[in-house]
Point group: C2
Chain length 253, copies 2
């Protein structure tokens, strides 16, 4: 059984701790946090430590801290030659201090505090410095997820950008929709089935085939009416640019 | 039992025909189409007509045609004083010819050909010219959906703009994500759980509370790295403007 140690107490760390704690096929030997109270609701007191020098022996150390802290945390480990992975979408594998064997264990999902996720469906993207370490990473990923991809640093960078578009930017469009509802005394709830179906459609259709709406139809009259309606400068600009993007994309066909 | 007649054979018309045909509490008395073969797979031959003068007596005529054709189709009806509704998000109730009693029956959803939808969850937005007609519209909507809202023409216009943001524009962001994957030999499938969870999150959280990502954190380093990565002019511009929008939105708090 793979012995795993997790470093960190943020969103990703907490979700990973929960997933490993519930998995029968890995052993969560330790969690390192600066403030042990942050994981007191997740693990037994003897599992948590705030002392780097007390880090237990493990097959894999997973650093789930903010991007900027990965280099420093990995450099402060009081051991070498062990397998150390970070969980970031945007940090290259080389950011991990070279005294240990580097790897990446990147769960591609949007994690929200206190909202449980079904880890089984979350793709885990794996990268290793030494091919011999791939099996340990794969076995660890398989303990919590059924979707595993080998993704190198340059692909992971692209993937993270793509994720920003389909998740962060998409959520921002939900917010624009909710603002427009609010400004017109319409409950945002009315849009929720549409949001769900729009996401649901691309499980089966390519986004290109799923595209509908005034821009796709090049329905100038509706587009003009919508632009005239949008008095908020920012909403107006976003509508214009996204519409142009859909129209020019259609022409590329 | 409300007797309904549907005019049209496009996506919305076909989905409505299916929903009413499967509903026990309305009677679909007739479907008017120019080309009867288009609904031959949906209704019995004797229900379809291509002759406006043969339109049967009904409690409600639902015009599910393209926005631009609503005025003309409603003017061509060979009767007056009856209840006539259109199904458009962006056309005012007044577009329906005034010789009949006007109404709107707007199902807020993205309809894709050959992809079944669960009508029960689709909000139906109702507007009537004469308050006395509301009950018939409501009863008809209740036969196929459990979510009914009274929405007037000005609210419906706002709602349609909001729907373009959360559905058409969102789908376009999925397409940008899929393009980036394609350009970097990454299967688009890897993003699907993220797309599903992003949509799922706003069922419980407000989009504002659900917002994550580099722009939300004002993580300039990651934003700059992503912009440097995006060589495609259109992708680069969208990333920049959506990021600015999230940042300035955060400042409004």
């Amino acid at each position: 059984m793979v012995k795993v140690c997790i470093i960190g107490s943020g969103n990703v760390a907490q979700h990973l701790i929960t997933a490993f704690a519930n998995s029968g096929s890995t052993e969560l030997v330790q969690v390192f946090v600066r403030d042990k109270s942050k994981v007191a609701h997740l693990v037994a007191a003897e599992i948590a430590t705030d002392d780097l020098n007390a880090l237990a022996e493990a097959d894999l150390y997973i650093i789930a801290v903010s991007d900027g802290a990965i280099a420093e945390v990995s450099a402060s480990f009081p051991f070498s030659g062990r397998l150390v992975a970070h969980t970031s979408g945007s940090v290259p594998i080389g950011a991990i201090d070279g005294k240990n064997r580097r790897a990446v264990f990147y769960p591609l999902q949007t994690f929200t505090k206190n909202k449980p996720v079904n880890f089984k469906e979350i793709p885990i993207c794996i990268e290793v410095e030494h091919q011999a370490d791939y099996a340990v990473l794969e076995q660890t990923a398989a303990a919590i997820s059924s979707v595993i991809y080998p993704i190198d640093s340059s692909q992971r960078k692209a993937l993270h950008v793509a994720a920003v578009f389909v998740s962060n930017f998409t959520n921002h469009l939900y917010q624009i929709g909710s603002e427009i509802c609010e400004q017109n005394n319409i409950p945002f709830d009315i849009l929720k089935p549409l949001i769900a179906e729009t996401a649901n459609k691309v499980r089966l259709l390519s986004p290109r085939d799923a595209q509908t709406g005034p821009a796709r139809r090049n329905d100038t009259q509706t587009i003009e009416a919508h632009l005239a309606f949008l008095r908020d400068e920012n909403q107006h600009r976003l509508y214009e640019i996204l519409t142009q993007s859909i129209i020019s994309n259609g022409k590329k066909l």
